[in-house]
């Protein structure tokens, strides 16, 4: 078996990359993609734990499914809002959306 640490390190790296992306990117779409990376890291964690812990820990696998579906719903909504903002402002950059003091 591949030791569980490998999965945990992979997911920690993915999470960190995603978090960096959220902080460094300006386009709302790219921020969303970074959030997806973070959620993927979480899903990897859940599946790794569920597989290694014991055969009955199905709840981890189920949790991963819920993470995936909720992420899809969130992205769908975000795209909708970005489209609306884009139609009015012709930009998808969050730091140009500054009519509110950020």
């Amino acid at each position: 078996m591949i030791p569980i640490e490998n999965f945990l390190i992979l997911s920690a790296l993915l999470f960190a990359i995603g978090f960096y992306g959220v902080m460094a990117r300006r386009s709302a779409i790219l921020i969303l993609m970074s959030v997806e990376l973070m959620l993927a890291a979480v899903a990897i964690n859940f599946i790794a734990f569920a597989t290694y812990l014991d055969a009955d820990a199905f709840s981890g696998l189920v949790f991963a499914l819920f993470v995936i579906t909720v992420a899809a719903a969130e992205v769908g909504l975000a795209l909708g809002i970005v489209l609306r903002l884009y139609r009015e402002r012709r930009t998808a950059n969050v730091d140009e959306a500054d009519s509110l003091k950020w």
Binding site: F15, G18, F19, V22, A28, I31, L32, V35, M38, L39, A41, V42, N45, F46, F49, A50, L53, D54, A57, S59, G60, V62, F63, F66, V67, V70, A71, A73, E74, L77, A78, I81, V82, R84, L85, E88, R89, V94, A97, S99, L100, K101, W102
Partner: protein
């Protein structure tokens, strides 16, 4: 357990969910020229949900739906609070909802959001908690972006982006908790934590930091508060009033649930580590919130910063929770109860002014006492209560929660309370300046106006509540105490 009994346990949430569906379908099926049924149907659904809550046995303790939800005095307390707030918001929203194209969608989303919050307070499993949290968040994202203004869309986008990051952070903590306990069920997690080896300290602390980051976002605690002023200002004011009261209460409810029911609360061997962390966050929230609010000229934005500072006050009780104090959680519950009444009154008053006078600037509140005396009186009362001056509910709440923290006997909690008292003095400056503007300054215009009938009732009730809990807090404190006692299950 029979199906009927299980359905009774999730009755309030179910009534709200079904109500949301009915509102949405009534809208698409009735066509363009049909009368607007949204308000009536939504009010009926909320009233039905409230009946379900009232019909619940206050001493009931149990799990339903294979352990996914838990019903006890704690969940009933929050169900009562959240459904009540939703009813008030539904009653005050008519004028605004009629003015936009998506009135029915607004009611539907409001009900979905409220239903998930009720489930959130009942959550007994990490999966339930996550799904309920995301359902209520997604509905709130849409509501924040519902108005046809540029700012509203921007508020929605910012709320969504920050919210999804917070969800990912929270989930990362949940994943570690699951990895250690081997189950997502809170009672199983509680058993694990109660007998956790010393080597589990570091991973548990890591999980705790991630989880408090995720929940801190919902509770509007610093340093996870950057979205609060922007969203409160950009979102429609009626949505803002719902967010500032219900969303925050639900955030604290679920955080208490996870830390007390799941992680053992004050009895845990890590209680002290957690408490120091929460205490730092509480102090930061008060300082950031109050200094931020000092410079604001926009009423909604000021209430946003003030809500961060108030979240810091509640978190003082939270820090006392983890430090082993038993009155800490009841302090949190009592504070949230009075805060709901107070802040709802203030925000709805701002909503009325924004609607009638078309302004959110505090300078334009000049002479409001002459233009709409009752409105100005209620708003002033709420602001005084937010400051924490007797004989209002806010005063009792602050005394109660600070007392809980001091009684634990930890030096650093005494320091935290000292910080809180200094911050109360700072907050008096901007709250009372606003009150002074309303009563002392001359209005630009003398025309009088009055809010609609239902809005008047809500405003008067909240003003009345602020005074009532200020002079006679006993019943609410008792309810909060018995609710807090059911939190711990081991």
């Amino acid at each position: 357990m029979s199906l009927a009994q299980e359905l009774h346990y999730i009755g309030p949430a179910l009534a709200l969910f079904v109500g949301a569906g009915v509102v949405l379908f009534a809208d698409v099926l009735s066509g363009r020229r049909a009368p607007r049924w949204g308000l009536t149907l939504a009010a009926l659904a909320v009233a039905l949900a409230w009946t379900f809550v009232l019909a619940m046995d206050g001493d009931a303790r149990g799990e339903a739906l294979s352990g996914a939800v838990r019903v006890d005095a704690f969940s009933i307390y929050f169900a009562f609070l959240l459904v009540g707030v939703t009813l008030a918001v539904v009653l005050c929203a008519k004028r605004w909802a009629d003015s936009i194209e998506q009135g029915a969608e607004f009611y539907g989303l409001l009900l979905i959001s409220a239903a998930s919050m009720v489930l959130l307070a009942q959550g007994n499993d990490l999966i339930t908690i996550f799904v309920a949290l995301e359902t209520t968040s997604i509905a709130q994202f849409i509501m924040a972006g519902l108005a046809r203004t540029d700012r509203s869309a921007e508020a929605g986008l910012k709320y969504l982006l920050t919210g999804s990051v917070a969800a990912a952070v929270l989930l990362y903590g949940f994943a570690f908790l699951f990895g250690m306990a081997g189950s997502t069920s809170l009672p199983v997690v509680a058993e694990y934590v109660a007998s956790a080896p010393e080597s589990g300290r570091l991973p548990l602390l890591l999980a705790f930091v991630f989880i408090i980051g995720g929940f801190g976002y919902k509770m509007a605690l610093a340093p996870f508060h950057a979205w609060v002023p922007d969203v409160y200002q950009g979102a429609p004011s009626i949505v803002g009033s719902f967010l500032s009261v219900a969303s925050k209460a639900a955030g604290f409810a679920v955080a208490l649930r996870v830390f007390y029911t799941g992680l053992g609360g004050g009895d845990s061997f890590m209680a002290e580590d957690w408490a120091i962390f929460v205490a730092v966050i509480a102090g930061l929230s008060m300082i950031f919130g109050n200094t931020g609010a000092l410079l604001q000229t926009n009423a909604k934005r000021l209430l946003g910063y003030s809500s961060v500072a108030q979240a810091g006050n509640v978190a003082v009780g939270f820090a006392a929770v983890a430090a082993g104090s038993t009155i800490g959680p009841s302090g949190v519950l009592f504070f949230l109860g009075t805060y709901a009444v107070t802040n709802l009154g203030a925000f709805i008053a701002v909503h009325v002014v924004a609607e009638r006078l078309g302004t959110e600037e505090i300078a334009d509140y000049a002479g409001l006492s002459r233009r709409s005396p009752a409105l100005a009186a209620v708003l002033s009362l709420c602001l005084i209560s937010l400051t924490g001056i007797p004989p209002t509910a806010g005063f009792i709440a602050k005394v109660y929660i600070f007392n809980a923290a001091v009684q634990t006997g930890h030096d650093w909690l005494v320091v935290l309370v000292a910080v809180a008292v200094v911050n109360t003095a700072i907050s008096a400056f901007y709250y009372l300046r606003w009150v002074r503007t309303m009563w002392m300054d001359d209005p630009v215009e003398e025309t009088r106006f009055q809010p609609a009938g239902a809005v008047q009732v809500v405003l008067l009730l909240s003003g009345f509540g602020v005074l009532l809990f200020g002079v006679w807090p006993g019943p609410l404190i008792n309810a909060a105490r018995s609710a807090a006692e059911t939190l711990s299950i081991l």
